[in-house]
Symmetry: C3
Subunit: 414 residues, 3 copies
Amino acid sequence: MTEVTFAVNEVWLVLAAILVMFMQAGFALVEAGFTQAKHAGNIIMKNVMDFSVGGLTYWAFGFALAYGGSSLGGFLAYGEVFFFNDSSRASEWFFQVVFAATAATIISGALAGRVKFTSYLAYTPFITGLIYPIVTHWVWGSGWLADLGFVDFAGSGVVHMLGGVAALAGVLVVGPRLGKYAPDGSPRAIPGHSLTLGALGVFILWFGWYGFNAGSTLAAVGENIAHPAVTTTLAASAGAVGAMFTAWLVTGKPEVGYTINGVLAGLVGITAGTASIGFGLSIVTGLIAGALMVGSVILLERRGVDDPVGAISVHGTAGLWGLVAVALFSSDATLGPQIVGALAIIAWAFSTSYVVFKLIDRTLGMRVTQEEELIGLDVSEHGSDAYPEFVFQHEVVDLRGLVGELEEATRPGN
Amino acid sequence: MTEVTFAVNEVWLVLAAILVMFMQAGFALVEAGFTQAKHAGNIIMKNVMDFSVGGLTYWAFGFALAYGGSSLGGFLAYGEVFFFNDSSRASEWFFQVVFAATAATIISGALAGRVKFTSYLAYTPFITGLIYPIVTHWVWGSGWLADLGFVDFAGSGVVHMLGGVAALAGVLVVGPRLGKYAPDGSPRAIPGHSLTLGALGVFILWFGWYGFNAGSTLAAVGENIAHPAVTTTLAASAGAVGAMFTAWLVTGKPEVGYTINGVLAGLVGITAGTASIGFGLSIVTGLIAGALMVGSVILLERRGVDDPVGAISVHGTAGLWGLVAVALFSSDATLGPQIVGALAIIAWAFSTSYVVFKLIDRTLGMRVTQEEELIGLDVSEHGSDAYPEFVFQHEVVDLRGLVGELEEATRPGN
Amino acid sequence: MTEVTFAVNEVWLVLAAILVMFMQAGFALVEAGFTQAKHAGNIIMKNVMDFSVGGLTYWAFGFALAYGGSSLGGFLAYGEVFFFNDSSRASEWFFQVVFAATAATIISGALAGRVKFTSYLAYTPFITGLIYPIVTHWVWGSGWLADLGFVDFAGSGVVHMLGGVAALAGVLVVGPRLGKYAPDGSPRAIPGHSLTLGALGVFILWFGWYGFNAGSTLAAVGENIAHPAVTTTLAASAGAVGAMFTAWLVTGKPEVGYTINGVLAGLVGITAGTASIGFGLSIVTGLIAGALMVGSVILLERRGVDDPVGAISVHGTAGLWGLVAVALFSSDATLGPQIVGALAIIAWAFSTSYVVFKLIDRTLGMRVTQEEELIGLDVSEHGSDAYPEFVFQHEVVDLRGLVGELEEATRPGN
């Protein structure tokens, strides 16, 4: 390779990785915006730590277990890149670490509003240092799933479904938020505190996703980097449309939260086949992803799975669909290996995450006390207050009650 | 062209398009921040749909009408790219679709706070699938305006003025928001709910505009991609300064809203001549754009045109100025063709949009009911609430009234 | 250089500069989010003007004083680029102007909430047109510090420490905000109004910093552009971790504000050595930067230096550490020249800024009146209100007082 070719590929890969890194901001805003104000600072801390602790862990172990050079039977890698210090592989590491952080950060949204910060911090190194890297070795590190013919171009399964499944394991361990379910078991809405921040988060994710999908060409010279950009655009658009109309049918309104989550479902859905699915079929992929996500959210909520931001449905359900879609809609993959791979990733991500969450629960305890949950994690866990100057509805309820009583007391005739 | 040259151009065009795509987030925030909280979710929905429905329409029809290969007398294109599926033209399509979405999204701000969501949804395909693509064929698709010597490098007229003029047509059809004008006809301020979100939107637009202007070189090899970046920077800066001082003169204060809209006016103004105007004159272009925008906002408001975010002035007025500026300040264009082109675009965009809006108004109805407008479009149209936990001024007015009455009632002597 | 090589370098440098430009949005959000809502519009205006007035000044004078071609004894440059109009140097100018704007914008945070807008406006041209450009000539323009062997790859000292020191000079001239210190001199917390906006600002800065650090290679062909991206990632991560644990030790909680400022401290700390420090040592650099920043914030607050957003500690203290770290942790620099350079930049930035701030204070007055400060700079300086629809805590205090009195008055027995 000439020096210029090398440079073009580096420019592309580094800029793509920078875009993927920015998805952390998108996740933070989606998760904060879609949950209550009293937990917003905690959400931010979990997102910052996903990338910070995650990045340091990936430097120490993760990268080596995924791409270490030698392979232990196609299951995990090892070699000389523990405590990574090879400047000649810098762009490769950079592109991989931002993916690892993405897998980790999916989980924080599903666990929002009830998990101890220290316990969450204890889980993070497992996903970025162990659970996720090993799966990437299977698929992208010439491991056993790659040998089998399993195809996941940019990570519908490897990143998103894995994160969604790990999130499900976490939710099963910690249980729903206080007040999420009525005594008769019917779910109650706990609306997020800022649709504008949530929507900005979705736009940031969409923006960063071009790095995620098109950057997964890993090089620019000799590659069609624009094809994934187009399928990404069309699937995201179709995801929004699919989710909006599905939600419209179900709820009677073109609801905002479902629609913008539909963008994300469309993006997750196309990720596996972004380079191989044609433009028309990428629209079909996105439409189905959006519709499936809405169904999945409703179903999980009814089954007692409290996922405040819909992360399990957006990443898990649409991620699984993405693995299937690439077999249905392109000639790159066949259904058999896709299903084997999906089941393997689900089994691995769920079992390892469940065990780790359970172990942490038995030792540190996963969940905050009821009082801490009611006060909000910002004050109880961090001594911080995300919006100290604003007045919140619950704060004026007392005032309204008092005024009502006074009115009663001063009514003529009393 | 060698494989490396091709790759460099692709990297540049794809990344520029990604930046332009992110402008959608900027528009959403400017429009939401500059309008009332009770419509914020609706604004987001319109922006998401501008890109989603717009993108799908552009895939089906728009691109073919603009760049289909064959031309119908320089007026519209046709050919084999309906239901676009040509992977070898992916980067071209991607760069064009994000421009189409920009033209569409300009309108949503001007119509904020009073338009039915379904009716807005019905309009979107017309602008991204028909009105806008046909103008791009005239100018960028070797159509009749290109033949005439009309120059609009990155779209002061083709994108921004077109969007602004379509917005004006829409506003004339739907009329002002309730309460915008006092019984004597004098305008009242309806301040936006978040200057910080609005300002963030402006910064995001500025950021994305580098893709818009510098990316319009369409290639990197053999082009000066940095010249547009410099004129963009200087004109935006000068636009802020020009608008700030003009507003200072008029209102007595360096008002925030006018100043940050001045950035946008400067950007719109330089867009036509970004590649040909020199650095010093780009400052003059921006200064004038900022000042004109302030004058235009005040004039339109007095004339009964209620444009909540100033979109008609920012995109329409400054866009027109941009078409003139490129003739005055560069040797690339002459005034005659610029004026002919401007008039043609205005006539086309206004008449087609007016007809479509009128037709929708007669059938679906463009405007929500008075009650829905007062409640806010979020609740009435989407069943959503952008900020359910925060307390708003109108909510404490009742409380204050009650307390006042009580105070009166319990005053000694009563 | 071939045309393709030139194009690759241009693509890299222009896109890196675009990323750095976006840091302005990050600064605006960090500064607005970490301060009170009543000053948010003013913060935005200062940030927009830092870039606008700063950009125009840099066009007129700054660039020429830094890179004008001829040098006056290594102290300042001059030549033919006053009122810059050389299209062939466009990318160079663009990359430099966004750095100049960064240096300027650091100051606005430290001065938040008490400075006259016109006086701030009067200072801006000095830093972007004179104080900053002259230092860049010393270090990056083949000036006397470069000759001495002083190394500051991307600007820990040249940009950040300089901005932090100028901010310190400003704070010493204007004094603390009203109510920051109790009568006995002990500091009081004045929490910022939005942790979510502040955190988004930090993520945007992190994102833009890749352009800042990796872009400082100034070219892509023949350079390792990924090495700085990796050290930037690791140092930012370590900065967050270092600051979080330090704050945890000191305050008893993993406090949000300190942790996210730790990201910035890590970024500032690695900036000087981003291209030469190895990956493992970049983690050490970040950890120390985060811890030092927390100590510096606490120390300065106790000493009566009221810096609302911690800008002096994040940029000044961590910037100084960055200059030392590159000597300790890489073979590119030695401690002697680093200390001489640090002292020279501190002396220059402090003395020139102090004189300018004092002169403005004697003429225009730096500080608003007590009444204006209490009302908030948005209303008093700009006639704007950042959040006109939301209810703030201070607004319900009166209501609560009234209700309390009424309750007393209507109590049975009265």
